[in-house]
């Protein structure tokens, strides 16, 4: 029986497709067409409808940017808020430091924790264990699922503590915050963070024990890099192929291209084509900036300083989740409220750039504003549009050696290969659905 199918496959062509990719944020599809063992076509289609954010930001006040751009994505609103406020502050010629800067990092740690916990346990882990969802997993892995939910919950609570609420925080403004949380409220978070660090250690041990397909690619990793910190909101843009630029130079090096099969623009390096953003890139380019405890945990999790197997991103995410808990603890333990929760940023004509490390990769913004502070022009490059082409190339390479698998298996594994990237399609259109065509 098996032999017969295999024989058929060398002569026939087939399609593997997922018309609506599950466990990703937003609406996308995957389409793969095979002729025998040859991969003829791979498309990651994004049919998430466009919402034209860059268009309608024109004419709005620079002060509205954080509230408006947050609505691009319910999973990583803080990334949009942080990239936009930094751009506006650059225009105003203001640098935000001290406790306000710390609070921003604390808020962002909350988003990393929430998003990573969600992706590790609810979106990615079910693939490795062969379940349709975390909810299906719960009866067999009750303790793990409960731990995951608490890990996630504390991330959300951190966001609510600093931002007022977890989704679309209301407390972020250009220059800082509307109101600084009280000292006791923040310091009182300590025990939860210590629990989170311990639980993250368990999470690393758990995911490090999974089976990983033998699949490594020679990516160009792109991430931010800061002189002394693991990157969140500030730094230069660097790559594993020697790129080292200021945020303002992004467009000299990268360009967005529109393709017919996707509502999301593909961002590529002008000369070298596709590249990779997100946890693997951040980790490879900033290994030396991780805390000693996080590095030690990475070693325990079996990770080298550079990881080229995208399926292992689940371990890197767990290490980053640990780091975020640890960093949050550092901030919480030394927190004293700022005298004033924000720095004044009077409107001033100019162009500014902001970039931050969203949980799924760099989120780059450019704004120009006029003398009255009205936005003249806006450009936003979300992480998933940067990874789209790399996801397609991963799919092509992954399917190559595995054409003898059944359609169902191949489809599921391809979906998993897409989910390696924690793609956020809502972001990418400002992006996922799956199809394998053997026909």
């Amino acid at each position: 029986m098996k032999a017969k199918i295999a024989e058929k496959k060398t002569t026939m062509s087939r399609t593997i497709r997922a018309d609506y990719l599950a466990r990703v944020e937003g609406e996308g599809a995957m389409y793969i067409r095979l002729k025998g063992d040859e991969v003829r076509e791979v498309k990651l289609k994004i049919f998430e409808p466009p919402r034209f954010f860059e268009g309608f930001l024109r004419g709005r006040s620079y002060l509205e940017a954080p509230d408006m751009t947050a609505r691009i994505c319910g999973i990583c609103p803080v990334a949009y808020q942080m990239s936009s406020v930094h751009a506006m502050e650059q225009i105003a010629g203001v640098t935000v430091d001290g406790p306000i800067r710390d609070l921003r990092r604390l808020l962002y740690c909350g988003e990393w924790i929430e998003s990573h916990a969600l992706h590790i346990f609810m979106l990615h882990l079910p693939d490795f264990l062969g379940y349709e969802s975390a909810i299906h997993m719960a009866p067999d892995f009750k303790a793990e699922v409960e731990m995951a939910l608490t890990l996630k919950k504390y991330g959300n609570e951190l966001m609510a503590l600093v931002g007022g609420r977890e989704i679309h925080p209301i407390n972020v403004r250009v220059g800082g915050f509307y109101k600084a949380p009280a000292r006791d409220e923040v310091r009182g978070f300590r025990d939860k963070l210590i629990w989170g660090m311990e639980a993250s250690r368990k999470a690393v041990a758990l995911v490090a024990g999974l089976e990983f397909p033998d699949f490594e690619q020679d990516y160009e990793f792109v991430a931010m890099r800061h002189p002394d910190e693991y990157p969140l909101t500030e730094g230069r843009l660097v790559s594993s192929r020697g790129l080292d630029i200021d945020l303002s130079e992004f467009e000299n090096e990268f360009e967005e291209q529109q393709v017919e099969h996707s509502n999301a623009l593909h961002c590529v390096h002008r000369e070298r084509g596709n590249y990779f953003v997100g946890p693997l890139a951040r980790y490879a380019l900033n290994y030396d900036r991780l805390s000693p405890a996080a590095r030690e945990l990475a070693v325990k999790g079996g990770l080298d300083p550079v990881v080229r197997n995208p399926f292992k991103s689940i371990i890197v995410r767990a290490v980053e989740m640990f780091w975020a808990y640890e960093e949050a603890l550092r901030i919480v333990d030394s927190y004293e409220p700022p005298e004033k929760p924000f720095v004044e940023t009077p409107p001033r004509r100019g162009t500014g750039f902001g970039c931050s490390e969203a949980p799924r990769g760099i989120c780059w913004h450019r704004y120009s504003i006029d003398d009255d502070g009205l936005i003249i022009d806006a450009k936003i490059v979300p992480p998933t549009s940067q990874n789209q082409r790399t996801i397609e190339s991963d799919l092509r390479e992954y399917v190559k050696g595995r054409t003898s698998l059944s359609d169902d298996k191949l489809q599921w594994q391809c979906e998993q290969a897409v989910r390696n990237y924690d793609p956020c399609i809502s972001c990418a259109t400002h992006f996922l659905k799956l199809t394998v065509d053997r026909g």
Binding site: R58, R71, G74, S133, I135, N156, H168, Y178
Partner: protein
């Protein structure tokens, strides 16, 4: 595994949106396993690959209608669902993306895309209720988690959801929050915005920007005059305030249009 399940079926559907409202469901960390125990999550692509066929007892619909395909798809969901609940500002008013309703979509498309001809989009972003009968609307950008749980338990138990319909202002008064408008002259949509957030923004010393949408019979004209006379706002600023996350909600839309010269 039993072949047939008698648990009520819940489906979650996405239209044009940021995913934030459906994420709110996954953010109910304390209730999630209990909810999953009481009902069958029959369609929720963001959380699960499993798809169970309808009909569904309750469909939660996130997002607004912005493409011809969406305008078609929503009818299928209505036909397959006993109860349809529109969740969030996108689904109940058209959301922030309804700012397109005040502009030329072809032009917007040209601003964002090099080949606007690849993009299929309607001129207006419209709420679910403009297309089908909706049993209940849950406001907010995003919806409140507790409201989501209340609505689910109400419909599953055959009762009406118990949710506030007064103004954000009332929540401030009840909580003893200092009025940002009276104290600091900060323009605030609180008097005309439906409660539900527990006066979140005023608690943080900022004006409400209407993410829960207009309350019943809001006196927007009176409030706009106050902004102009007492808060020193320009008509353009008044337009921007009403033309935000719920720009297409009727009272807010009309008020913003009134100030266009």
């Amino acid at each position: 595994m039993p072949l047939r399940t008698t648990k009520p079926k819940l489906a979650v559907w996405k239209f044009s949106s940021c995913d934030g409202c459906q994420l709110s469901l996954l953010d109910c960390e304390d209730e999630l396993l209990a909810v999953a125990g009481a009902i069958e999550i029959a369609n929720f692509p963001e959380a699960s690959r499993a798809v169970v066929r309808g009909p569904y007892n309750v469909s939660l619909v996130e997002g607004s209608i912005t493409t011809p395909e969406e305008a078609e798809r929503i009818h299928k969901i209505r036909r397959n669902s006993r109860i349809v609940v529109a969740i969030g500002a996108c689904a109940t008013s058209g959301g922030l993306q309804a700012l397109r309703n005040f502009q030329d979509v072809d032009e917007l498309s040209r601003l964002v895309y090099a080949h606007p001809e690849y993009i299929e989009s309607l001129n207006n972003s419209t709420p679910i209720g403009d297309h089908i009968f909706v049993d209940h609307e849950l406001r907010g950008c995003p919806v409140d988690k507790a409201h989501l749980v209340e609505v689910l338990s109400a419909f599953l138990n055959g009762r009406k959801p118990n949710l506030p319909n007064h103004a954000v202002c009332v929540e401030c008064k009840r909580a003893g929050v200092v009025c940002v408008m009276a104290a600091h002259g900060t323009p605030c949509l609180g008097p005309v915005t439906q409660a539900g957030c527990d006066a979140l923004c005023p608690r943080y010393n900022r004006g409400c920007f209407g993410c829960f949408g207009p309350r019943e019979n809001p006196n927007t004209a009176h409030l706009a005059t106050w902004y102009l006379d007492q808060c020193g706002q320009t008509p353009e600023e008044v337009i921007r305030l009403f033309r935000g996350i719920n720009a297409n909600a009727d009272p807010f839309r009309r008020e913003s249009l009134r100030h266009e010269s």
